[in-house]
Symmetry: C2
């Protein structure tokens, strides 16, 4: 059975690790800290899904300690703002890997996808439409059953889509599909995140409040219309955002949680990308600009100890 590496011990990394391990692959999680690696080596990873708890045995190594590629397939499950550092390290490792999958949210990593084409036969992107919550360094909860959508960015003459991996993941309850129109899927997700994430973060409310509070709803509509002017959205896209707010009405968005828990947010990979695209077209997006500055300001305020 192939060896699978996952860079990043966050919620998506742990979730993938547990399903891949359940699928029978030999999984190694490359963590940021020695502490988390030690815990995973000692206790494995525990997956909570619905009413069931599954503990799987997973190997773990601190990322900074690896010197060469040891896996056949490597998932990069780090946040966008840590990606550059991870890529620099990987570019200098000995050896090669068959497949790399970029698992970042947002779209700022699109420009980085070509950085490993000399190191991998296949470069994929993974668009995670599953919900996951990291409860401890070794415990993850599968909070939203969705789909992991896979897109092929690059394949060299030795390249070969590892279809069996997606198939095995789906079989053990982690639905995974390959899509040709992955760029479009990514943009649709970017629009959804660009609307829901900054607003819930700035108002400090659950997703459902954007529907029940008329003023917030109005703001959400104005923001969507502004983003639509760049991404050519349809009424259907708007209805989908409303549906997502309904379905996840009790959830706190990842951006809100990041702010609350003192982590850097993904504002660069979401609103930052929207603003960049608009700038290239010479269009000014004031709502997005305001939200971008505000979330960056809140990150700074929090670093200075003033976040309430």
């Amino acid at each position: 059975m192939e060896k699978v590496g996952i860079v990043g011990g966050g919620s998506v990394g742990l979730l993938l690790a547990s399903y891949l391990s359940k699928s029978g692959f030999h999984v190694t999680i490359y963590t940021k800290t020695d502490e988390q690696a030690n815990k995973i080596n000692k206790m494995g990873v525990t997956l909570e899904s619905g009413m069931s708890l599954t503990r799987v045995s997973v190997k773990s190594v601190t990322f900074s300690k690896i010197k060469e590629f040891n896996d056949d397939i490597l998932f990069l499950a780090v946040k966008q703002y840590n990606l550059n550092e991870v890529l620099s390290t990987l570019q200098n490792l000995k050896g090669k890997v068959s497949t790399v999958v970029f698992m970042q949210n947002g779209m700022s990593h699109i420009k980085d996808l070509n950085k490993l084409i000399s190191k991998a036969d296949n470069v994929y992107v993974g668009i995670v439409e599953h919900g996951a919550l990291k409860k401890t360094p070794t415990d993850v909860k599968h909070t939203g059953i969705g789909v992991l959508k896979i897109g092929c960015y690059f394949q060299n003459e030795n390249g070969n889509c590892p279809v069996h991996i997606w198939k095995r993941l789906s079989e053990v309850g982690f639905l995974t599909e390959v899509h040709d129109n992955w760029m479009e899927i990514m943009e649709k997700k970017l629009v959804v995140n660009g609307v829901i994430n900054p607003l819930t973060a700035i108002y400090k409310v659950t997703n459902g409040s954007l529907l029940t509070n008329n003023y917030y709803f109005e703001t959400m509509k104005l923001l969507f219309e502004e983003i639509s002017s760049i991404y050519k959205c349809t009424e259907e896209d708007w209805q989908q955002i409303i549906e997502i707010c309904h379905k996840t009405s009790q959830n706190r968005s990842s951006m809100l949680k990041d702010l609350e828990d003192g982590r850097t947010t993904e504002i660069e990979a979401i609103t930052g990308v929207i603003l960049d695209k608009a700038k290239k077209s010479g269009v000014h997006l004031p709502y997005n600009q305001f939200l971008y500055n505000s979330i960056k300001g809140m990150e700074l305020q929090r670093e200075e100890g003033g976040y309430e």
Copy 2:
């Protein structure tokens, strides 16, 4: 000595009452609740200014109980959103009053200034550039020594500017000046409030954070520029806003305090007026629109018990 009435037992009402009483006038505060009126009648009003505490004896009557005008001069020290109700009552009282002074923040009350011209010989506006904090229903702190700027809106054939009142107020430490260009002064203050108040309220920060946090500073600049397009502001106006943030760096703006303490904010009288003016000129102000919707949404959220 003339009898002076003050409608409203908030911070400005209590501040005015104590200085007017120190000046030797017979002062009556018309309160919203019987409870506050009883307390004031029993304990007087205590003014804290610098290191000194002064207790003055002031009469108080619940506003809803008055049937006729009993004073020579009447200050309307209620919030903009309570003004309509107060004016309806005053329009139906027996008798007349020599002078009425409208003490509201913002500019939404401009349209209401003519509603008492059949009841008063002089109608004035008062622009409060003093800081005041109501500590209890009978205790007020003079937190910022500034100027009360008075402007004459209307004077009939019997009208006569009560210059001696402004003079006496100034003598006891509450600087009061009459200005001809009161409309301009009011607009300048509106611009200052339109920039500082909504931003500090949405970010939940002291005024100084708008200067020290680069992202908030950038947002403040963009907001100022947008408002400038309507109110023809100058570089000097921008410098003044910066100076005010410096001088009041530790203060929480009234809008932030209103939200935190569960009161309605003055967003209608500030950002609402700016948006109305822009609308009449056919101009769209996205930053102001976003802030207006956001603060209104936060008021609603707080009513629903969700304000954090």
